[in-house]
C-alpha cells in the first residue's frame, strides 16, 4: 500500500485496519468500565474547578476582579473574618507552610524508625500496633483527648499542662486563660507539639510495604560486604524505596499551602492559630450554614485560585527535586 493510499483512509478505516475485532472489543470493555469513574471525575473535579474559576471572576453577577482585590488586600492586612483573629492571609499561609517544613524535618527519623520496626527489633509487633493507635482513633478522638490534656478543667490542670507547669513553670496568665491552647503566646507552639511529637517516631504502612518488597538477597549482600545498620538503611533501603518516599514528599507538597493540624477542633482558629486548611474549610462551613447563595462563592473561589497558582510551581518544583534522585529498579 502506498503512502497516498494511507492518507486517503478515514480514521474509522485506519482503526479497523490497525486493530482486529478482539482488540476492539477489549477497548470497548476498557472504556465502558472507565466510563462511570470518568464521569464522576468530570463532574466532581473538572466541573467544580472550572466553575471555581468562573466564580472567582464574578461579582454581583458580572465579570469582575473584585474578589481577587479582596484576597490581595487581605494578604497583608487583617482578615475580614472573625475566625482568624485579625491575622493576615500571609500569616495564615505561613503557618500552613511551617507544618509542611516541620513534616520534612521529621521525615527521615520517621523512615528510620519504620525501618527499625521492619527489621524486627525487640517487641516490633507490639510497638507498631501501639504507634498506629493515634491514627486509627482518628483526628477527632485524639484531638479532643489532647485538647483536654493541655487545658485547665475546673481548677485542675490537664496532665500535659501539669507536667509542663512542673518543668517550666507556666505563667499565671496562661493558666487563667484556660490552658496552653487558650493563650496567643502558647497556642500555636502547643499545636505544633501536639501534631508532631506523637508522630516523630512512627510506623508507616505504605513505607513498610515498600521495605518488604526489597529482595532479601540485597540485604545478604550488604551483610557480606560488612554494612552497618545505618549504612544498610541509607545505601540499600532508602534508594530502593525512594520512589515510595518521593510520593510522600510530592503529595505533601501538593497540599503544602492547605496544611492543617486539627485547628478547627483545637481552637477554631483563635489565639493566632488559623491555618489555610482550617480557614478554607471554615469559610465553606459558614457558607453551608448560611444555606449557600449566589455571590457568596466568589471570595473563596478567588482565594482557592490564588493558592492554586502558587501551589502548582511549588509542587512541580518538589517533584523535580524528588526526581533528581534516580529510581533504582529491582
Amino acid at each position: 500500500m502506498t503512502n497516498t493510499n494511507i492518507e486517503k483512509l478515514t480514521l474509522k478505516e485506519r482503526l479497523r485496519k490497525r486493530y482486529n475485532m478482539e482488540d476492539r472489543s477489549a477497548f470497548f470493555f476498557c472504556y465502558a468500565i472507565l466510563l462511570l469513574p470518568l464521569a464522576s471525575f468530570c463532574v466532581f473535579w473538572v466541573y467544580v474547578n472550572i466553575d471555581s474559576i468562573i466564580q472567582a471572576f464574578r461579582f454581583g453577577g458580572e465579570f469582575s476582579l473584585r474578589n481577587f482585590k479582596d484576597v490581595f488586600t487581605e494578604l497583608t492586612n487583617a482578615k475580614r473574618s472573625a475566625t482568624a483573629d485579625n491575622t493576615s492571609l500571609l500569616m495564615i499561609e505561613w503557618r500552613s507552610v511551617q507544618l509542611y517544613l516541620i513534616g520534612w524535618l521529621f521525615a527521615f527519623p520517621g523512615y528510620l524508625s519504620c525501618y527499625v520496626l521492619f527489621r524486627k527489633c525487640w517487641g516490633h509487633y507490639v510497638f507498631r500496633t501501639i504507634f498506629m493507635i493515634p491514627n486509627v482513633l482518628g483526628g477527632l478522638t485524639t484531638v479532643l483527648l489532647y485538647k483536654r490534656m493541655v487545658m485547665v478543667d475546673g481548677d485542675s490542670l490537664g496532665p500535659i499542662l501539669a507536667l509542663i507547669d512542673a518543668c517550666f513553670d507556666v505563667s499565671d496568665s496562661v493558666i487563667k486563660s484556660g490552658g496552653l491552647l487558650k493563650h496567643a503566646n502558647t497556642a500555636w507552639i502547643t499545636l505544633l507539639g501536639l501534631k508532631f511529637i506523637p508522630h516523630i517516631i512512627g510506623f508507616n504502612l505504605v513505607q513498610t510495604g515498600a521495605y518488604a518488597r526489597i529482595p532479601g538477597e540485597l540485604y545478604e549482600v550488604g551483610r557480606i560486604d560488612g554494612l552497618g545498620f545505618i549504612r544498610e538503611f541509607w545505601t540499600i533501603a532508602t534508594p530502593l524505596t525512594w520512589s515510595t518516599m518521593s510520593i510522600g514528599f510530592i503529595t505533601g507538597a501538593a497540599g503544602m499551602l492547605m496544611g492543617d493540624c486539627g485547628v478547627f477542633l483545637y481552637t477554631t482558629g483563635h489565639y493566632q492559630t488559623a491555618t489555610m486548611g482550617f480557614y478554607v474549610y471554615y469559610e465553606t462551613l459558614l457558607l453551608a450554614q448560611a444555606g449557600g447563595g449566589e455571590g457568596l462563592y466568589g471570595y473563596p473561589a478567588a482565594l482557592g485560585l490564588t493558592l492554586t497558582a502558587v501551589s502548582i510551581p511549588l509542587a512541580l518544583g518538589v517533584r523535580r527535586l524528588a526526581g533528581l534522585v534516580e529510581d533504582v529498579a529491582y
Binding site: 489532647y146 496532665p159 453551608a288
Partner: protein
C-alpha cells in the same frame, strides 16, 4: 603456576573473610552487627517512650470514663480507683441531646456506618475499575487515564470546596445520603495507583487461562482478578473506612441533618466548653469520655482485625511520566 596458586590462595582467604563477616554480622558479634544492636537498643528505648505517648491519652480517657465527677476533680491526673460503668447508659442517651434531637445513639452509629463503609466501598470499587484496565490492557488513551491519576495526586488544585458545595446544592446532594454516596464513585486517586501496582504484579496466567476457557472480560474481572486483588482492595478499604469513621467535616457541611457519632462527640465537646469547668451539670466528665471512647472503638477493632493484612498489601510504586 605460582601465580595461579597465589590467586587461588587469595580467593580462598577472601571467601573465608566474607564467610566470617557474614556469620559475625548474623550473630551480631562484628562491628557491623554491633551497630545494629546499638541502633536497636536506642530505638527500643525511644519506642518505649513513644508507646507511652501514644497509649497515655487512651488510658487516661478510659480511666476518666470509669470514674465519677467528684473523683475526677479531686485528682484529675490519677487513674481510676473503682470502676463505674453506670455512666455508659447516660452517655448513650446524651448523644440525642448533643445532636439537638436529630439522632439517637443507634442512628448516629448507623450514619457513621453507612458513610464510612458505603462511600468507601464505592470509592474502592471505582478505583478497581480504573486500575484494572490500566494494569492489564493496552488501549488508546491508556496513558491519558493514567496521567489523570498522577495529575490529581501531584498537581494541587486547592480551595474549591466552597464551589463544590454549590454543586452539591445543585445536584440535591446536601442532606441526601443516597445521592451524596454516588459522589464517592471516583476512582482516579491514590487508591487506584496502589491497586494498579498490585494488579500489575499479580500473575496474568489465570486470566489468560480463563479467556482460553471462554470467559468474557467482565467474568475475568469479577471471577479472576477481583479474587486475586482482594487482599489489596480489602486492605485499602479497611484503611479508608478507619479514616472516614470519625469524619465530622462532611457531616457538618453537607449532611448536617444526619449527625454521626463524630458530630455528636464534637458537639458534646462544644457544650462542655460552653458550660465550663466543674459546673458541667448534665454533661458530666465521664459521659464525655465515654462518647469519645465509643467514637473510637470501631476503628480500633477494625485495625486489630486487619493489621497484618494491611501491612502485607499496601505498597506503592513510583510516579512515572
Amino acid at each position: 603456576m605460582f601465580t595461579a596458586i597465589r590467586r587461588r590462595f587469595s580467593d580462598f582467604i577472601a571467601a573465608q573473610k566474607l564467610k566470617k563477616n557474614y556469620h559475625r554480622n548474623k550473630n551480631g558479634t562484628s562491628k557491623e552487627g554491633m551497630s545494629k544492636r546499638v541502633v536497636f537498643t536506642i530505638f527500643t528505648f525511644l519506642f518505649l517512650v513513644q508507646s507511652f505517648i501514644c497509649l497515655f491519652p487512651l488510658v487516661w480517657c478510659i480511666s476518666n470514663a470509669l470514674r465519677p465527677n467528684p473523683e475526677f476533680y479531686a485528682n484529675p491526673n490519677s487513674l481510676f480507683t473503682s470502676l463505674h460503668f453506670e455512666y455508659l447508659g447516660p452517655a448513650i442517651r446524651a448523644v440525642r441531646i448533643a445532636t439537638n434531637g436529630d439522632a439517637g445513639f443507634l442512628l448516629a452509629v448507623w450514619n457513621s456506618f453507612w458513610f464510612a463503609f458505603g462511600t468507601q466501598f464505592l470509592n474502592i470499587l471505582a478505583s478497581l475499575f480504573v486500575a484494572y484496565p490500566l494494569a492489564r490492557y493496552n488501549f488508546p488513551g491508556k496513558h491519558f487515564f493514567y496521567g489523570i491519576i498522577i495529575f490529581r495526586i501531584t498537581v494541587p488544585i486547592v480551595g474549591s470546596s466552597a464551589v463544590g458545595y454549590k454543586l452539591e446544592l445543585a445536584l440535591h446532594m446536601v442532606n441526601n445520603p443516597p445521592i451524596y454516596m454516588i459522589g464517592a464513585f471516583n476512582g482516579f486517586d491514590m487508591n487506584a495507583l496502589i491497586m494498579y501496582g498490585y494488579i500489575k504484579a499479580v500473575s496474568k496466567e489465570y486470566s489468560e487461562a480463563a479467556f482460553l476457557d471462554g470467559a468474557n472480560a467482565l467474568q475475568v474481572l469479577f471471577k479472576v482478578v477481583v479474587p486475586q486483588a482482594f487482599p489489596c482492595a480489602l486492605a485499602l478499604y479497611v484503611n479508608s473506612v478507619m479514616g472516614q469513621w470519625n469524619n465530622y467535616q462532611a457531616f457538618l457541611v453537607s449532611l448536617s441533618e444526619y449527625p454521626n457519632l463524630a458530630v455528636a462527640t464534637y458537639k458534646m465537646e462544644g457544650a462542655r466548653d460552653l458550660v465550663g469547668g466543674s459546673d458541667h451539670g448534665a454533661i458530666s466528665n465521664a459521659l464525655f469520655y465515654w462518647i469519645v471512647l465509643l467514637s473510637g472503638i470501631v476503628p480500633l477493632i477494625l485495625f486489630a482485625a486487619s493489621q497484618k493484612l494491611m501491612i502485607k498489601n499496601m505498597a506503592v510504586g513510583g510516579l512515572k511520566g
